[in-house]
Amino acid sequence: MWTFFHKLGSPPWLYAIAGVVLRWLLPITLIALVGGMIWGVLFTAPDFRQGNSYRIIYVHVPAAVVALAGYYVMAIAGAVSLIWRIKMADVVMKAAAPVGAALAFIALFTGAVWGKPTWGTWWVWDARITSMLILLFLYLGVIALYEAFDNKEAAGKACAVLSLVGMVNIPIIYKSVDWWYSLHQPASIKFTGESTIDPSMLYPLLLMIAAFYALFTCCLLMNMRAELLQRESRTQWVKKIAAKEGKR
């Protein structure tokens, strides 16, 4: 157990193991994504109220779910980095931020696209959309803070503190935005609750959520490998890899 943690702290080992995981996970992810999309788009009935436009939930909901989970991945990596001083946790955190931000952006974008046929407007100040927007801001804050530091080690620690602060705040933000929305909710907008979703629509959705988790993991690992190569560019093992890649 202890040696496992010790190995986690070793960049070449992490680089190699991430490569092995990616070799298997990447094809599985792609199959699940394509399969889930085909299932969701072609083999489910249209919604009786929204017609075919509801099918965007097969991207929108998974992106939103994983964007939120991604923040927790980032914050927990930050906590590990601060408490146990494992440098590789910094790498995980640095790698998770842009992926999570991209997912939050996808969730917002698809939400806007979905909103046009459903509500007749690109943007409504709906509780979930607003929360997702704030989540995107939190991600952007972490990324901006990281970029602002010249000393990348300090940048990692500062971002770890910030993402932990964000993690404590996310439930508060979500609850208060929910509450704010219920106070100001205009009567004309009705939101279809997910609890009423038909099982035939739910299963492809669950598959897509799983696929997005896998996609997040793949992007995280690839990002981590790139970050590791950059950080360790002066070391022997990176030079060896560079030489090998150069010959190919």
Binding site: R85, N151, E153, K157, R234
Partner: protein, 205 residues
């Protein structure tokens, strides 16, 4: 040197190593600082003197190899004098953020007198020169009861007479069983043995 090397060291550094910008500044640097010792860290600009001192006092907590143990709270004087322009020299010492002690006015006046700031106690510090700011900072050495002093270039912007007085203060602190670790580009003329830590080659002379 009757008190040297006796008892537990005030400061222990074990196999310190620091890499900055891909350059190794020092490695496997171990040092034990005991009461009654004066250590002079020397080396050219960029050799890592300030970085080493910041590691020793605890301001740098990561990014280096090795371990530092402090058995006492050190007094650290850095590049910046920590003097507030809006406060007078006396207030600066009265309200100091180092959390060392609540000093009485008489003691502060004596300390300011010793660093040649007699008559300047109550003028706003923004009217003082850079060297006088450094002197206000040096006055803390007269007030402090800390046994271990970590001084980063204490003679910068101080005139020759001030340098001599400070050096004799360092010597008397060491004679009294205290310890000093300092960086300086000037050679020290003190009446006690100087241990030199040269970062040029990473060896202890």
């Amino acid at each position: 040197m009757s008190l040297s090397a006796a008892g537990t060291p005030l400061l222990t550094a074990q196999s310190l190593g620091l890499v900055r910008g891909g350059r190794e500044l020092f490695c496997e640097l171990s040092v034990e600082v005991h009461g009654g010792q004066l250590w002079h860290i020397e080396g050219p600009n960029g050799a890592g003197k300030t970085s080493l001192l910041r590691i020793l006092c605890g301001l740098s907590r990561y990014g280096f190899e090795g371990e530092v143990l402090r058995s006492v709270t050190p007094l650290y004087l850095g590049h910046q004098p920590a003097v507030k322009a809006l406060l007078s020299p006396r207030e600066n010492l009265q309200w100091h953020v180092s959390g060392e002690g609540l000093y009485r006015d008489e003691r502060i006046d004596i300390a300011l007198g010793r660093v040649g700031l007699c008559g300047y106690e109550d003028v706003p510090s923004h009217t003082l020169s850079a060297g006088q700011h450094r002197r206000v900072n040096l006055a803390r050495l007269f007030l402090s009861s800390a046994r271990l002093w970590l001084l980063d270039e204490p003679f910068t912007a101080i005139d020759q007479q001030g340098v001599n007085e400070t050096q004799s203060l360092l010597a008397s602190h060491v004679d009294g069983g205290g310890a000093v670790v300092m960086t300086s580009h000037q050679s020290l003329q003190v009446k006690c043995k100087v241990h030199t830590l040269s970062l040029r080659h990473g060896v202890i002379a």
